[in-house]
Symmetry: none
DNA sequence: ATTTAAACGAGACGGTACGTCACGTCTTCTG
DNA sequence: CAGAAGACGTGACGTACCGTCTCGTTTAAAT
């Protein structure tokens, strides 16, 4: 199948070196900040040659993307959660999800490389597309499915555009985090969530 | 203010060199992209020495910030518009403002250096603070004043947090632009605006 | 001799690969010059793995040495001529030999790899010793035998040091060639030969 | 004058850095051998940036050439000896000169970088031409003048080609040194000199 | 109307990192 | 099981810019 077609080159890949590189990239970003992250430093820290990095990744940003994927796949049992919670109470469910995200974004080991990746994507369309494909899209579809169910259950007005709804609910949090426009607190996301949902409830 | 602190030294400052540098920075960013913008290239293009740039600006980003200020001050008669339109129809007024912004963000000569500046600010807090002080704050207060008037006129629910409202109305546009998540169209901002305002109208 | 030392391993040696490597080395040296000759390019051109080269030769220079031996053994019937001509006329005989050498040195396919080998030997004593053993020594002894016979026949003064004589006759040609100090012509070697022999004839 | 026309660029040159680079190149060549001489090592040892070397020299070989010129100009009072000795006894004079050269070539600090330069010249025609212009030519003309005077004084046959004579006298020494074909001793050059001169004396 | 001190253009300098090349070794798969 | 294929750690390459530092040379102020 198609995995086999790709195999000839990737088969030879040294998995230990791959993990060492991703781990080193995360550690250096967390330690010294992204500005001081260098291919050479990653290589030294990982105990590999620079060429091994250039062979498999087109840029620092691509390394970070893989590193973050490694983290998220390492969570739990190796599979990604497939659905947002659905207890029937939309606001409570989203609150729980948002609080978890707030907590994650307040964790420097995750937040720092994520911001670095976001920064890099702003200037690298290929990387951004890759990110959307591999990390953002599945998450977004999960969100869309949850909102669709709410819509069918009559908790959201039928005319609401779900993509806009997602932007309204999650966008402010991302902005605050990315642009450091204020502290990331549970009460902030609660306010945003309430305001957003209020605008999308079915009209009587 | 900033200008006053360094006024004694600035007395000798060569205004022609200053403009040449800002113009060169904009031109190079528009031409080759921000990634290829360097102090040396700005200096060569502007026909100045590197030291003249280092003397007056702490970083590339600061040059861009001044360059964008130069553009925005060059508009009209040299003074910034102090207020958003207020015809009494909030949605119509905001629609007009948002359409103007969409048009501006679809102009590469403005959009490219602006995105570059946004990128630079993500990694440079001093620059970000300076930006907020000099460009963002006055604009945000303008928005806040307009929404406050709408609230007093009973077009917005009194309990709405105006900062959250601003985020709801302008945030999605900024996100779409900054992260290139989709085309910037009038209809998109119209949809966002309608959804946002629906959630903030006074309850009967 | 050398072959006997490594015979045990050589039993398995792939002769086709050996010839492909030597031929590739010569071709690449003639084409692109010695400076651009690398083990990797030889391997690619020869269609072998790099390891096959490293297994059998200690250096690029050693490959070239074998390649030149392959050429010289390929001449005629596979055996090397054992003696310089001896018609009784020393000057005429040497002239013939020197003219043949001049012609060979004006042939780029031979001259370029030979110069490369000479260059490599300057910085590699082991290679130089190997070269002297396998290529230079037999040739030099041939020359010495011819001059010895001339001495016995009374065409050279008995007190002449034959090694010095060889240096006087063949040295200038080698220098001119190796250091590109001038064109390699028959008349040049004729002049050198005449001057040298004049100094070595028996005194009356 | 013309020195001033060239001056604009060279005037700014940092003489201390130049000397540090040449000294470092000599020291490293003497210590570790030419094979381990690297632009990066020269820069580190000299305490300069690599670019300072690349700015002023096109290659390692060119650095060595300047380094050797620095040595030879450093001898005595800063001027190069203009003539070989001429006591009227050609053989004695040349013997003295050759013995001095033998002594020099047995000094590793001089001999090692000189051999390295010779090696480099074999593969770099521009460098070789520069070498001939700046080091070899003046020396060769000195030799030619001495032999010419000997010819006029009747110590050399009038029909002798002086360039060939130079090659006969000095060539064997250079060869032995360059190709390490034997020990460099006074008696060797004496033998060569005697043989060569014997062939060039006026015929009765 | 001179002086004089700064800002200026030019660009050399010590550095850091880049992305590439080739080295010589090691590993995997294939004929 | 030798050999092709090529990944790997290593180290040097030559280049691009960094930010600092002289150099003369304007140039505008305070004499």
């Amino acid at each position: 199948m198609n995995a086999q077609r790709r195999a000839p080159r990737a088969a030879r890949r040294n998995e230990a070196a791959r993990r060492a590189i991703l781990t080193a990239a995360l550690a250096l970003t967390a330690q010294d900040g992204y500005a001081r992250l260098t291919i050479e430093r990653i290589a030294v820290k990982a105990g590999t040659g620079k060429q091994t990095i250039y062979r498999w990744w087109p840029s620092k940003g691509a390394v970070l993307l893989d590193a973050l994927l490694m983290i998220s796949e390492g969570d739990g049992d190796g599979t990604r959660p497939a659905e947002l919670p659905d207890t029937g109470d939309l606001e409570a469910d989203l609150k729980a999800v948002l609080h978890a995200t707030v907590s994650e974004l307040n964790t420097p080991e995750i937040s720092k490389p994520m911001r670095a990746l976001a920064l890099e994507m702003l200037g690298d369309d290929v990387l951004a597309a890759d990110y959307r494909q591999r990390l953002e899209r599945p998450v977004k579809e999960m969100k869309r499915r949850r909102l669709r169910r709410a819509q069918l259950a009559g908790h959201l007005a039928p005319e609401v555009d779900l993509d806009v709804a997602i932007e309204m609910i999650w966008g402010p949090l991302r902005n605050r985090w990315l642009h450091r426009e204020g502290p990331l607190t549970s009460s902030y996301v609660d306010t945003v969530l309430k305001t957003a949902l209020d605008g999308m409830r079915p009209r009587p």
